[in-house]
């Protein structure tokens, strides 16, 4: 376990409702509706807590007919507090970490469910958005203009502007009506 994961785990556990959920799960596997009834919470609120517990690696889910059944991840819960607290930080360059955090903030601000809300005015942010759109294209593969349009248009209505900007930013190279992703 890395220090980042340990921090996520501790943050997740510092909530009475989530501790109550874990306590309930020690008595056996349960589904959302049953937990909601026991803890007097709404099912969407329980689902929200379960997502956090799952992300922290504390619970595991499985599908059983119409229900999602949750169980405790004993492999994590049976670790000693010493072992978790002594986790080493992930070996990532600080600068790289800051840049990735910034990138994620920009994506969160400008994208909603994979659709671009608006084209950022600031070039740095615009590039982040276009690089994300470029991930829909295979590098080196030749695309016809109509294919490029068909891929971009579900992401942003004004696909012509995006396509042109992506050429001027060097993300695409163009030869007539043929496009190739460069980076």
């Amino acid at each position: 376990m890395t220090q980042e994961n340990a921090l996520k785990l501790f943050k997740c556990l510092s909530d009475t409702s989530r501790l109550c959920i874990i306590q309930s799960l020690t008595q056996g596997d349960m589904y959302t509706e049953l937990l909601a009834e026991r803890l007097e919470l709404t099912p969407p609120t329980v689902s929200f807590h379960m997502k956090k517990l799952e992300d922290a690696g504390l619970v595991i889910s499985r599908k059983e007919q119409y229900y999602t059944v949750y169980s405790l991840n004993r492999a994590v819960l049976e670790k000693s507090l010493y072992e978790v607290a002594a986790s080493e930080p992930e070996q990532i360059d600080e600068q790289q970490k800051r840049e990735e955090a910034y990138r994620q903030r920009v994506i969160k601000a400008f994208f909603e469910y994979g659709k671009l809300r608006s084209i950022p005015v600031q070039r740095k942010k615009k590039l982040i958005c276009y690089e994300l759109i470029a991930e829909h294209f295979e590098p080196g593969k030749v695309y016809e203009e109509k294919e490029v349009n068909a891929i971009i248009s579900p992401i942003y209505e004004d696909y012509c502007t995006v396509r042109r900007d992506m050429i001027s930013e060097g993300i695409f190279s163009r030869d007539g009506t043929r496009y190739v992703r460069q980076k």
Binding site: D15, S17, P44, T45, F48, Y113
Partner: protein, 112 residues
């Protein structure tokens, strides 16, 4: 309309107390959902106050606005479900549950 406004006021006070209790109990996320719920009662109180007294608007306009909220939030809920966005689903369902409660009290209190 007076009774309706009093109902909204009581739900807002109740919500504010709930937020304090939940946060003190170490349930910050549940407290945030209580904030979302309380905010809906607050927003509806504001639009009810504004529209109900406006000439040419009145109670019908308030009800129409509540229905518009319902349409918009239901669409947002569907979108969140489609994308498996658990947090957004919980928020939209909380908003809609509060709105349904408000709508359920609307005719009842105005007829009285």
């Amino acid at each position: 309309m007076k009774a309706f406004m009093a109902y909204l006021e009581s739900k807002i006070s109740e919500g504010k107390e709930e937020i304090i209790v939940l946060e003190a109990d170490g349930r910050k996320d549940d407290g945030n959902f209580a904030k979302v719920r309380t905010n809906i009662y607050d927003v509806c109180r504001t639009i009810s106050r504004t529209l109900a007294d406006r000439p040419g608007a009145g109670i019908v306009a308030v009800k129409a606005q509540l229905d518009r909220f319902r349409t918009g939030w239901s669409a947002a809920l569907e979108q969140a479900k489609q994308h498996d966005d658990i947090h957004a689903v919980a928020v939209e369902e909380t908003k809609l549950a509060a709105l349904e409660d408000i709508i359920a009290h609307f005719p009842e209190v105005t007829e009285a």
